[in-house]
Each structure stands twice: as structure tokens, then as C-alpha cells.
Symmetry: C2
Subunit: 571 residues, 2 copies
């Protein structure tokens, strides 16, 4: 008897599961329903459609071979029956029946299943924000939103926009609006940093400065309390607790919630995150019902706690596991290392694991380093700076997380991916110290930044390096409570000495042995271009009896990008 | 009592060890000797110096902060005493003495050590090639060679060159000569493929075709038997068994041998590779003598056999381990995953692990797949094709190796690095199937190529996919023994049908269900753009009773780049 499989949701996890089942078990009878008319599209591509990198909506719906993934495609190529504009109303787990409603014809019907798959995704978190339903206000949930936004901007209807929410989607939309369309864009985030769920405040500050350099106005620590406008003529602005900002377009990118009502009403277990609970086989608490994608929670492989990670790429992985298991194979999805990667104008950021704050919440004792160095051989002409934050647990020396930023996105993502792959199992910091990666000057420094970061963190853990973050340093320095010994060349350090006088002393590292008498008394913040020379200086000075030094992590490479106004103008 | 450390060799491992010791144990007394006047340079940068990416020799000798790493630098910044032009003559292990000879003053002297480090590198394999000493013939061993080569090309003395050896260095030098200087370059390799120690013949063929497209003439399976010329006026050409090739410059890039004479004469153990044996602490058979870099052998972490891997990046890792251990810490170097990465004109290739041939030699039963897909979301404008070969053991399903090629080098290297990091421990193929990597359309497809390759290989191992390599396919097809069913669109397949007539049948995948009667009888080679559609077709046809099909691995994406003349000209 052919297996009857019903899949609810036809975007990522659902379509993947359907195709995988069919490939393994061609006799299976698969029905894929979706309340939307758009199916099987690349939701993560919406900002690039809006920003013009992808010319038309079909770009997000087509295969690599430029075939649109519509119902006919699924029928003829995949052997899967897709029914768009059909909504799942309720599940009767006992009799294994699904009540559905055809939205066009308003007809209800009962479908029987042997296996049911919930791939119902997530819904934008809009809460009860007044004005959220005004014309010109859009979440970034589906292709209808994408179309609506692009229509407005491409018709020249938008001079200024507000993006609510400083997560990945918010930043991507801010770039899309500013970069191609020249829309004056304000990004509002209620927390005190951007990208709080994926990056520490130090890395987030670098990104924020880059956004501002690209003319995105960033407002932190403010909450939008209402969107104002006219139900006919549309949105006119937003109001925070402190100010009113006029605009012609509002993007709500405040995150998403798992879409759980169908599963919850059927009695399926929900987890601590509020999402549907699944085991490693992607089965819900009803073994005949599988779930995957944005509606489920999964295990964070570093914290071992459940998290909700709405990512299309994970949804695809879930879909395949579900498909294999329904088709009689056995596959498991072990969990997530919480990878995140995004392009922000000319920069890219990527991470895996836990941030420092998340590590603390999970009961770890996180210690971190920030290193700045070339992303390839420093003599190779295309080399650019790369920033890396590496976090480990003080007690166990296990790696907890990595955050990377730089202008060559593939190279940035590469570093987070390598460390992320190792986070599947607990990994000692020492493994990263001697980790081998491919080496050739056009694509790598002979001392790989991952090795250097691990070495730096080992030195901190072993008490050889006594460091201070740039944030701490800048606070102290601005209060007159820190004095710098800058060991760079006189050419490089000169403008700082000129700007900050006595508070900024320059002795080039190679001259130190002969100029010991010039070293000022008291605590010194040691600074070089990116950190290693000031670290060496710290060891040297310690040997000479100067115990009161702090190495400024990442040196000028971090100071300059954390606080663009601090550094003297470049000549 | 301050520890006396003598280090022989001041390029990579030696300098790294010296600096690390000094940072951990500032009291240590470190003498670094080198027979050469050039010390602490980036040997891997030589092709980029010759090719003009690096303007002057100082570029390869300077730090990130543009300070030349000369003796004064080591003295003042690192606290290390460097003695260039001093050669190690012999070691007396018992009395812990090293006899050295000052090459300038021709004075011999005995130095006492507590710990001795051998970082003596490798020497070019020139064997007894007649004419190798002619003016205009250079190995690529050190900066003297680099300078000699660049002087000749930059003075316009070189119209044509022969590079002997199709390994990484040979390819890099061929590019350097051709790309900037327009030198007519012939690359001669005695084996039947390029890069034999790192890539399979299928991937090597793609690289070879790219070299040829860039006007490098490639000769395989021929051995240079002599270099001819005049000892005054210099080289005039090379002779192989079959032909004479005129040229004004010869580069010998036939590989290197570990420099072991000093260690061997002192009675240190040499291993099966001929290189010095060290344990994980990088100690030789004499525990007071450490060795690292190109002169030692190390454990291949996949085969567990010893190999000789002369790589500057590994030498640096060795140096740090040696330094830590001599300074009283404890660090280990577990081995290598044999990473290799290189830029070849507009392409890059990277790998880790074992090739198919190497796997067979090591007693594995290797099975592989080749997949071709976009290196980022296929709708993102900067997407390019990426080729990936993934190899696993049939019995154990452990991953054995990965080979990648593409035009975005960071992205290519990234994939090999991620899999390479997992090869430190045995890794199941299923881990790669569900491996999470960062995802964002500008830098990744939503179905990561690593996942896809693992899936494809699983399908082959489980008998779902019955595939044929492009090499096998082309051989059969050209003999008239293969017939193609091309399931791409008529627009794409049309020119092939036109060129190959009956032997090339086109039915677009989506039309197959309705055109079953048109499918020719007999064995069919299934072809699509890159492999997945032809795989789906195989499943579909099998279900319909057509059992005799072979899926051509990598499809047109592999055929076109393996045999540029096979495909009809593009319109």
C-alpha cells in the first residue's frame, strides 16, 4: 500500500521533505498544502530582491536551471501534488486526519495521512504595535511583503524609511533600501546593540559604525511605541518613547515566532522556547507527525539547551532528515551550532556557538580575545583586515563561540564555519591552536587567524597576556584614567601623540630596550597596530619589572573601527 | 641558570620556535643560525614576488607592520641572537655540542646547548639532471633563486620558459611567468596528471584545461632528460625523451627532499619517508633535540601513515609547539590532514585528506562523487560554479578526502578547510550530510555544496544513484558506446543534439512523464547541467522499468571543463 503523506507548508522544509520521500520511495503519495499562493521560494533572498541584486520575483522561485518551482514543476518533475491556497485547520491525531480549508473556494475537506509533516514556519513578531496595519508598513515574512516593498521603492514612493529591529533581517533590509534606492533609512533597535543574539557588543559596534558610514542612521535603546499615518494615504512616521521620525515606509523586522497553533491545538508538545518539540529524527510527540524548519526548536550543541533558530538552511537540513525517516530510512538531525552570517554593505560578519553573554547565562565562565590581522598573506595585494573574537570557557578550556568580521565575505564565513564544524563536539582551545587549514598567500596568512586567536586566548588564560578590551580602554582613557604606551613606528603613532599629548607616549617596539628610562611610571595601556607587538611589549616590560600594563585587545585595528572619532584624521 | 637553546634554520619553524621560547621564558639564551644571509622570509610568496604581486624582496621579509625581520629586529624586538651565514657541521649528542662553521670567515666553532632545534628545511630535488647548473636554470628554494628569476624576466631576457614539475610550485611559477610577463611557458610533468599528490585526475584535468586556456602549454607523461645550453650564455632548452623545447629560462619545481644529513650523521632516527622522526612533542629520537618544518615527517591523520609535507604553515605550527615544550610548557602537534590550496590564474583549488589513489594504496575502498553547483545562492549575481569531489570509504562510510575547485578562492578554501577540520577525527559521511554552515545568499547556497556532495555520495553508497564519471563517459561516448539522454531544456541541449545526432537525445525533465515512449532502448547516460536532475531522472526511469541508466557525475558542468572541445560552441 502506497504511503499517504501530507505536508503542511511548501517553502523550505516541506518541499525538501516531499522531494526526498519521493526519491527514496517513488510509490509514496504526497500532498503538499500551503495557505499561500507562492510556494518553494528563497525567503532569505527577499532583501536582495528588494535591493535589486535579484531583478524579479521569479529569481527567488526558480531552480539553478531557471525552472520556476510551481505546482506543475512539483507534479511533473518531483511527482508531488501541491495544493496552494489550502490551509490546515486542525489535526485529529487519533484518526490521523487533517481538516483543511480551500481558501479560494472556502470549502473544507478531510485528508487522511499515514505520516504528517508540519513545516508551517514562523510568523513575524508584530505584537500589538499600533499602526502596524497601515499601508506602507511591511514585515519581511513572505513574497507578498517583498513585492509590496519593492513596488513602493521602485516607483519612487519612498524617500525615507524606518526599519524596526536590528537583527540580521533588519540590517539586510536597511542595506537594500540605502544602497540601491538611496532611501534615507533609520534603523531602530530597542536593545543597546545590534545583532544581540549573535554577536557581542564589541563586534556589533564595528558593524554599527560601518552602517553609519554608509548613511544608515542607527538608533539603539529605543522602542517604537506606535506607527502613525493615515489608513488611506499610508504611513507617515514612527514614534519612539523619545522622538518622532517621519518616513514613507516602515519595515518590521523584529524577529519571528514559531507558528505553533496547529500543532498546539492537536496536543503536540511545545518546548521551553515555545516551539514544537522534536526528537533527533524530527518526530514530534506524536511519532506519526514530523515537524521541521522555523516551527520547531532544536538543541544548541554548545549549551545543550533548546533554541529556536529560524533559518532556511536549517529548514532544508530538517526536510531531508524528515524525508529519509518517513521513507523508511534513518537519519538524524543532531542540533545546531547557531551559525549566522550576513553581508552588511562592504563588510560581512559570521559567527557560531555562543556569545559571551549567552555563555554567562548558560553557566560558563567565558574568557575571550579579539585579534585583528590580514585575511591573507600580509604582503599579498588583496589583503584586508579581519577581526576575530574567540570565546572559551575558563575552567574547561572548551571553545564556546567565534565571531568574525571582514570585507571578504567568503573568508569571513569560512572561519566561522571551520570553528562551527568543530563545535559539534566539545573542542579544546588547544585544537584550534594547531589546527591546519589550507595555506597559500592569495587566500591565507601563513599564521592563520584561527591559530592566532587561539594562541592569544591561551596566553590570556595562562596569565601571560593581561589584556583590556577597547571598550574598557576607551572609557578609562576618556576619563583621563589610562595612559598609552604606543609601540608602533613614530610615523604611525605621531598623530595620536599630537592629539592626546602626554596621555599617549610613543616608543617603537624595537627601540624599547634602549629607551627603558623613558617609560612612564604607573599603569600603562599598551597599544600597537593589532595586538601582537603590544603583547610582546607586555612580556618584555614585565621581565624588566614593569608589572602594571594592560594590552589593548586588537590595538588600533579595533580602536579605530570602534570609535571613528577617537583616532586623529589620517594624512 | 638560563637555558641555552640553539636553533639551526631561521626561516619558519626555527624563528617561530625562538620567539615562542623567548615569550614564555625571557631568561632563555637563544642562538639562531642559518647558512643563508636571508632569514625569516615567506618562501611561499616567491611566485608572487616573481609574478609582480609583491613588488620587492623586502615584501617577503617584512612583518605585517612593515618592519624587516633582520638580525637587528630579532635582537631588539624578540631578544633572539641570529647568526646568518653560519652552517651547522655536526652534532655531538652526548656532550650536547654543535660544531658550526662561519661561512664568511671560514672559522669553525663549538656551541653548547641544553636544547637543540633542527629547522633545516628541505632541498630541491634536482637529482643528476644534466645542465641543471647552467645560467638561467633555477629551483624555487630560496630568495636567491627568486631574485635570479625575477631579474631575468624583468630585464626582458626571457621570451620562453620551461617549468619542470606539475606540482603546486610549478603551477604557481607558470602563472607568475605567463600572467604578468607574458613569457611563453611550457610546463612538463612526468606523471600523467598535474598535482598528483593532492588531486585526482578528474580535478587535475579541470585545472590543466584552465592553464591551457591561459596559454600555458602543458606536457604530461614526459621526463626531462637534460637541460641544454652554454655555460657562458646560459640555457637554450630542455630535452625530453620525445622532443626538444627551446627556452631562455628553466624552473625546476620537481619537489623537495627533507634536509636530513645533519640529523642523520648525528644518529637521529629517520622514518619511512626519509625525513626525521619526531613524536607529538616534536622531539627527535634524542629528547634534547627537537625538529620541525620541512625536515620532519608527520602523521597523516586519515591514513595514520607518516608523510613528508613541506608547508610553511605547518612549519609555523611546529615551531610554536617546539617553543612551548622547550620553554617548559606542554603542547603537541597531532599531525596533518594534508591540506593544500593554490590559486591557478582565475581559479583556485583546495583539498584535504586522501585522493582516491592514495586511499586505495592505504587499503581503503574509496567511493566518490563529483558535484557541481553555485558557490552562493544561484540567484545572487556574483555566483560562480564550484566543483567538489568527496571521497568516503565504502565499508566504514568514513570520509577520506575532499577536493574543491572554483573561481572564488576564499570560498573554495573554506570548503576544504571545514572538511579538513573534521578529518582530525574519523568522521562519518552522515555528519557532512547534516553539517551546518553559515548561510546568507551573498556567500552560500541554501543547500550547501558540502551537504549536497555528502547526500550524493550517500545515494551512491546506498545504490540509489548509479553513476559514471565524465572520463568513463567520454571514453565510451567517443567510441560510440554510450547514448545520452539529456534532460535539460531544449535550448540548452539543442546544440548537443545538433552536433551528436542520434547519440544525444533530449527530453526535458518536466516533459518525461508524458514522453516515455520516446526514450530510446538500451543503456542510457543521463546528463543534466550538473547532476541532480539526471539523478532524479534515473530514479524516475527506474520506477518506470528502465533499469539501464548511468548518471554522468557533474553533468555538463563537468563535461564542458574536462574536454573543452567536446561541447558544441556556445551561441
Amino acid at each position: 500500500m502506497a504511503q499517504q503523506v501530507i505536508i503542511v507548508g511548501a517553502v523550505a522544509a516541506g518541499t525538501k521533505a516531499a522531494c526526498r520521500i519521493k526519491r527514496m520511495d517513488p510509490s509514496a503519495n504526497i500532498t503538499l498544502i500551503d495557505r499561500d499562493s507562492y510556494i518553494s521560494y528563497a525567503g532569505c533572498g527577499i532583501p536582495y530582491f528588494v535591493g535589486g541584486d535579484v531583478a524579479d520575483l521569479e529569481g527567488l522561485q526558480a531552480t539553478f536551471a531557471h525552472v520556476i518551482r510551481d505546482c506543475g514543476y512539483f507534479k511533473n518533475v518531483k511527482g508531488v501534488n501541491v495544493r496552494p491556497r489550502v490551509e490546515a485547520v486542525s489535526i485529529d491525531c487519533k484518526s490521523k486526519q487533517l481538516l483543511v480549508r480551500n481558501l479560494a473556494e472556502r470549502i473544507e475537506e478531510t485528508l487522511c495521512y499515514d505520516k504528517l509533516v508540519l513545516a508551517v514556519g514562523s510568523v513575524p513578531m508584530i505584537f500589538d504595535l499600533p499602526g502596524a496595519d497601515l499601508p506602507g508598513v511591511f514585515p519581511v515574512g513572505n513574497l507578498h511583503h517583498a513585492k509590496g516593498i519593492k513596488e513602493r521603492v521602485s516607483k519612487g514612493m519612498v524617500e525615507s524609511a524606518v526599519v524596526i529591529g536590528g537583527g540580521a533581517k533588519g540590517l539586510e533590509m536597511a542595506e537594500a533600501l540605502t544602497d540601491l534606492w538611496g532611501v534615507e533609512t533609520t534603523l531602530i533597535e530597542m536593545r543597546d546593540q545590534l545583532l544581540h543574539s549573535a554577536f557581542g557588543d564589541d563586534m556589533a559596534l564595528l558593524i554599527q559604525n560601518h552602517l553609519q558610514e554608509k548613511d544608515v542612521r542607527v538608533i539603539l535603546s529605543e522602542r517604537v511605541i506606535r506607527i502613525v499615518g493615515d489608513s488611506e494615504t499610508g504611513v507617515e512616521g514612527v514614534e519612539t518613547e523619545n522622538q518622532k521620525i517621519s518616513c514613507d515606509l516602515v519595515i518590521i523586522a523584529t524577529g519571528t515566532m514559531p507558528n505553533v497553533s496547529l500543532g498546539k491545538n492537536a496536543g503536540l508538545d511545545l518546548g521551553e522556547t515555545g516551539a514544537i518539540v522534536v526528537n533527533e529524527l524530527m518526530q514530534t510527540s506524536d511519532p506519526d507527525i514530523y515537524a521541521g524548519g522555523d516551527c520547531v526548536e532544536m538543541t544548541h550543541l554548545v549549551s545543550r539547551r533548546k533554541i529556536h533558530m529560524p533559518m532556511g538552511s536549517l529548514a532544508n537540513l530538517h526536510g531531508r532528515v524528515i524525508g529519509t525517516n518517513i521513507a523508511g530510512g534513518r537519519d538524524r538531525f543532531p542540533g545546531t551550532v547557531a551559525s549566522c552570517c550576513l553581508k552588511v554593505f562592504d563588510m560581512a560578519v559570521a559567527r557560531a556557538g555562543l556569545t559571551v553573554k549567552q555563555s554567562e547565562i548558560e553557566g560558563f565562565d567565558p574568557v575571550f580575545t579579539i585579534v585583528v590581522q590580514s585575511d591573507r598573506a600580509h604582503f599579498y595585494p588583496t589583503q584586508e583586515l579581519m577581526w576575530m573574537k574567540l570565546i572559551a570557557d575558563k575552567r574547561s578550556r572548551k571553545v564556546l563561540g567565534i565571531e568574525v568580521m571582514g570585507s571578504q565575505g567568503d573568508a569571513v564565513k569560512a572561519r566561522a564555519d571551520v570553528v562551527g564544524a568543530l563545535l559539534y563536539n566539545q573542542v579544546d582551545l588547544s585544537v584550534l591552536s594547531s589546527l591546519e587549514v589550507g595555506h597559500t598567500p592569495p587566500f591565507a596568512a601563513s599564521l592563520e587567524i584561527i591559530n592566532n586567536a587561539a594562541n592569544s586566548l591561551e596566553n590570556i588564560l595562562e596569565g601571560r597576556q593581561d589584556s583590556i578590551t577597547v571598550k574598557e580602554f576607551l572609557e578609562l582613557f576618556k576619563k583621563g584614567k589610562a595612559r598609552v604606551l604606543d609601540v608602533r613606528s613614530t610615523v604611525q603613532a605621531g598623530p595620536f601623540v599630537e592629539k592626546y599629548g602626554d596621555q599617549w607616549v610613543n616608543i617603537p617596539q624595537e627601540e624599547l630596550p634602549n629607551r627603558l628610562s623613558e617609560i612612564p611610571a604607573g599603569t600603562l595601556s599598551l597599544v600597537c597596530g593589532s595586538g601582537p607587538r603590544s603583547y610582546e611589549t607586555q612580556l618584555f616590560l614585565r621581565e624588566k619589572g614593569y608589572k602594571e600594563t594592560k594590552n589593548v585587545q586588537g590595538g588600533i585595528g579595533m580602536i579605530k573601527y570602534s570609535d571613528p572619532d577617537f583616532s586623529p584624521p589620517e594624512h
